[in-house]
Every structure is written in C-alpha cells, then in structure tokens.
Amino acid sequence: MIELVNTSRWYGQVIGINDVTCHVGPGITALLGPNGAGKSTMMKLITGQLRPTTGKVTVLGEKPFANPNVFRKLGYCPESESSYDTMTGREMVTMLAWMAGLTSSEIPARVSDTIEHVGMTYAADRKIGGYSKGMRQRIKIAQGIIHDPDVLLLDEPLNGLDPVARREVTGVLHGLADRGKCVVVSSHILYEVEQMTQDILLMHRGRLMAQGDIYQIRSLIDAHPHRIAITSDYSRKLASMLLESPDVLSARIDAEDATRLEIETRNPEKFYALFPELVLRNGLTIRRFYSPDNNLESVFKYLVNE
C-alpha cells in the first residue's frame, strides 16, 4: 500500500533519509530506529508533507504530495505535542472531520464514537490547552482515525501514555489492522513494539537497515555471538562440558551467584538445538535458562552499534 523506491531526502546539506526502498502492506508495521535515524522524515514523505529529493514515494498508487486523492484514505498522527490549544478536543476532531470530507449528517455521531474509542469522552469538551500529554496524544489519534483511513501513520503514538491508555490504543490499532488497514507506528519503546507486531522496519542514519519479520531478523542475527545465562546447581561441571563444544567461546561463573553460568556462543542456532539433548543425556537440573541478547532491544542494539 505504501511504496518507496530509492527514496532520498535532504534538508539542505543535512540528510533525512538515504536511498530507501521498501514496501509496506496491510497490518501493523513498526518503524524503529534511534533519534535522528530518519523515521519522522519518512513519515512526512509518506504523508505528503515533503517531496523526496530523489526517488519515488507512492501511497495507494499515487504520489502523496498535496494530493487530495491520497489524503482521503490516509490518516496521520504527528509527533509534535502541539495542537489547537484554544479549541476543545471535540471541536478539533469535528473540524478535521469536516476537512476529511465526511458529510454533515454523520459527523456528530462519528466524532463521539471516535472520541469514545480512544477513551476521551470524559474530557472531550475541555480546552486542549489544559490537556496532559496523554490526553493530547489520544485526541491526535482520534483525528487520525476519524475518517476510517486505509493507511494510518502514527509517529510515537504511545509516548506519554500510561499503561492503561497504552493498552487501549494498542487495541484500537489492532482492530484497524484486523480489518486489513495498513498501520505504521514508529516507536522507541521496543517492548511495546514487541507486543504489537512482528513486522518491523529498522532505520539507522537515514538508511533502511533491516525489514521484515522479527523472527526472520532474529535468525539472521543467530549468525553472530550471543550470550546465554543458565542457572543450575552444577555450574562448574556444566561449564567444562559446554566448553568442549567448539561453538562455545567462553563460560563465566557469576561472581555473586555461583549457580549462574553465563556462556557465549558464536552459533546460537546450533547451541539451542543441542543444549536440550545435553541436559537430558546428563540428567542436569536447570532452573533458569535465558539469553540477555534474545529480545528486540538487543537485536536493535546489535544492528545499530556496529
């Protein structure tokens, strides 16, 4: 639904995004990357606020810049906290609903429904100027989904939301995705993303570093060294056994907790496949088994920090 072909965008001499080619289809896609990686630039290109310096951006088959045909089916929740401070939440959503081309008869009901959907009914008639960060965030999301867009882009939508609101909003996004809409969410908080989707786009220094399914990306990383912590009563015995394997690079017993053994393997895939047999064959009692590197956070760190 969204397509970028060799897209680059500079701001004068400063690079925003650099030669990005990707395709985003229905469902939730997470756009990840450290600050300054180009996530916001990419969103602005897709939402037709900026034009690419080189390359091509198409949304639903058309160029988005100042194109009403695209905007009819596109929703956007910007990152900036500012909005129409002198309006009430309901007024702002109503105005933007008008501008989205909804008809006057359906607007009041539609606005109330959407505001209810993001859990803002209790404060809808207060001035936005007095809203907290979380309340602004929800009104911003409401205006983005008011016209039931096919493509929805949200820039850091969960920033500043409390856990309750976060669950509600995630629920709303899942609802949209289940109906075949294309939802792109950028975020810093990786554990949130892990709960939301498996499809990611990872940006770094303006380039698209990785894209696809988290598990696929994880197996790519399996080719690189990996730490695994094992808690058992036989740390030393286990260490010597494991060190016999050529794939285990090091084994270290925790200085404080002698039952905790941390090993480093250069072939995690193979290690994970062989370890259960080793345990079962030798009748070892393992009480805890986990890898500090086995989450999106370390995938991210690994890719970004090289």
Binding site: N159, P163, Y272, F275, L280
Partner: protein, 305 residues
C-alpha cells in the same frame, strides 16, 4: 526511616481536587511513583517542592514541613522536570553552574560541580555547546545534571526516559540506578514505563485519583501465589503448547513466541528436563524459561482497576 511522611494531604486547584486525602510514607531508596494520567503524581511532586499550598492535611519531607519550609526543602531536593526546559543562550556548563549558584553555591564551587556532574551524566565535550542544539537524550542528561549539581539528598525524576531511544534510555536508567543505589541518594521516579521502574526502583507507590492505592517493595508486589513458568520459543509453536497441556499445564498467556504456563499439580522438581523433553518431542526450540512472576504492569493494572 521515611523520606517523606504525608498524612491526609489534599490539594485543590480551583474546584478540581488533584490530591485527595493522601496518606503515605515514602521510604528511603529508589521509589517509583506510578499512576495513570491525572492521578495527581505531578501535583504531589509540586506540593512536596513547596510550590503548592496544601488545602488540608500535612506533609513532611526530609523533616521539613511542605507548607512552610519550601525554601529549605528546595535546598535539599533536586527536580528533573518532565517537560523540556532550558535557558536560551547558555551552554550546558554555564547553565548547570548557574543552577548551582542559584542554590547558593559560590561561583567557583558551582563551576567545579557543574563539570563534575555533567561528566557523571556522560555529557562529554558537548557540554560547551549551546543547549538549543541538543538532542532529546542530551537535554535529559542536562536536566539530570542540574538537579544533582547542588548535592541534594532527594531527587525527583519526572518521566526521566521520555522520548529517549533505546541507547539513551539505557544510559539514563543506569545513571538513575547508580545515583540511587551506589551514591546513597533518595530518588522518587515517576514513569509510565513499567520496565524502567522495574530496573531502577526497589519499591513503588501507586496512585489513582489523588489517593494511594498500593504500596510495597517490587519483589513483594510481583510475587505470585501459583507456580507459573514462562517459556520463550524461537517461533510460536502450537504443537509445543498442546504437548504442555497434555502434561497437565494450563496456558495462562501467549504473546507471539512467549508462553506462560501454570502447573495445577505440584510443580515438577526438574522443570528444565521436562520442558526440554517436551520441546524435543514437539519440534520446538526453547530460547529461555524461568519461574514467572507477575509483571509490574499487571500489578499496576490490578491496583488501579
């Protein structure tokens, strides 16, 4: 000993009650202050700083009365506000030294401390640059440095990791952890991100609609009555789940490749062997397992519902 003792504290703005008869004793160490938006956390912090006069009730922080000893209090407290703030036209060193001087430090001492705290907050050569050119992560560090410069005994951190990317967040959390656990400062952290609280705090206070609804150490609050195990597979596997259920385990939650099971019968002695055996049988690959406890998020959701 308690850092702050609050009894029956009520704070109103106009006709809106932000803190409503709050009674709580905040222990020493690193304490997480949790609550949904509008629960009165920020108001509570502002009252403890002596900005707002309580409508009724009393509060004592570090032995000072919050209603009358605002100045003495602020000498001993450092505040890291949630919002972006800086003084235009200053670089980080000047700014932090200036903050030190406002707390009464002689100019030379303030400058010395400014360098010391900025270095501690991992802000290298960038500290000579104008604050307006800083990234979010650097601004957060400067905000922390200015709260530390006058050597406070108590630190208020309002959403310290807001808007930070994973690296920045990691650095900030390590700093908070270090300052509270190795440097002997008392810290109150308010955050919406439960993993942050889990990493930095020892205990939490949960607020809702201006009242305290739960308090305790994180370990206690997270303890589960039942024995549950969480298992992380390489990819989601329905066969594994079926095999586990055949062994008498009940599935509690499943998110992607994360599973959590509860054993109704007494827990097996050698859980590792059991899990590995099932995994081999069902052709799944275990990437990790551990005795589950409740997540702080669950504790929080339960407390405020």
């Amino acid at each position: 000993m308690a850092v702050a003792t609050i009894s029956g504290l009520t704070v109103r703005y106009g006709n809106k009650t932000a803190v409503d008869g709050l009674t709580v004793e905040i222990p020493e160490g690193c304490v997480g202050l949790l609550g949904p938006n509008g629960a009165g956390k920020t108001t509570l912090l502002k009252t403890l700083l002596g900005f707002l006069k309580p409508t009724s009730g009393s509060g004592e922080v570090l032995g000072y009365n919050v209603a009358t000893d605002g100045l003495k209090l602020r000498q001993k407290i450092g505040l890291m506000p949630e919002i972006d703030c800086h003084i235009p036209g200053m670089n980080a060193v000047t700014f932090v030294a200036y903050c030190g001087e406002m707390s009464g430090m002689p100019a030379a001492q303030a400058l010395r401390r400014a360098h010391e705290t900025l270095q501690y907050c991992r802000l290298g050569e960038a500290r000579y640059r104008d604050l307006e050119t800083y990234s979010t992560g650097m601004k957060q560090k400067v905000k922390l440095a200015q709260a530390l410069v006058h050597g406070p005994k108590l630190l208020f951190l309002d959403e310290p990791t807001n808007g930070l990317d994973p690296d920045g967040r990691d650095e900030m959390l390590n700093l908070v952890r270090d300052v509270s656990h190795a440097k002997g400062l008392n810290v109150i952290v308010s955050s919406h991100l439960m993993p942050d609280i889990e990493r930095t705090c020892d205990s939490v206070v949960v607020m809702r609609s201006g009242k305290m609804v739960r308090q305790g150490s994180i370990t206690e609050l997270r303890a589960l009555d039942a024995v549950q195990w969480s298992v992380d597979l390489r990819t989601p596997s329905p066969q594994f789940q079926a095999a586990m259920e055949a062994e008498g385990a009940t599935l509690i939650t499943n998110a992607g490749s994360h599973y959590r099971f509860e054993f109704k019968k007494s827990p097996t002695e050698d859980i590792g062997s059991l899990l590995f055996a099932i995994a081999i049988r069902s052709n799944a690959q275990i990437r990790g397992f551990e005795r589950a406890s409740r997540s702080l998020e669950d504790v929080f959701m339960e407390a405020i519902s």
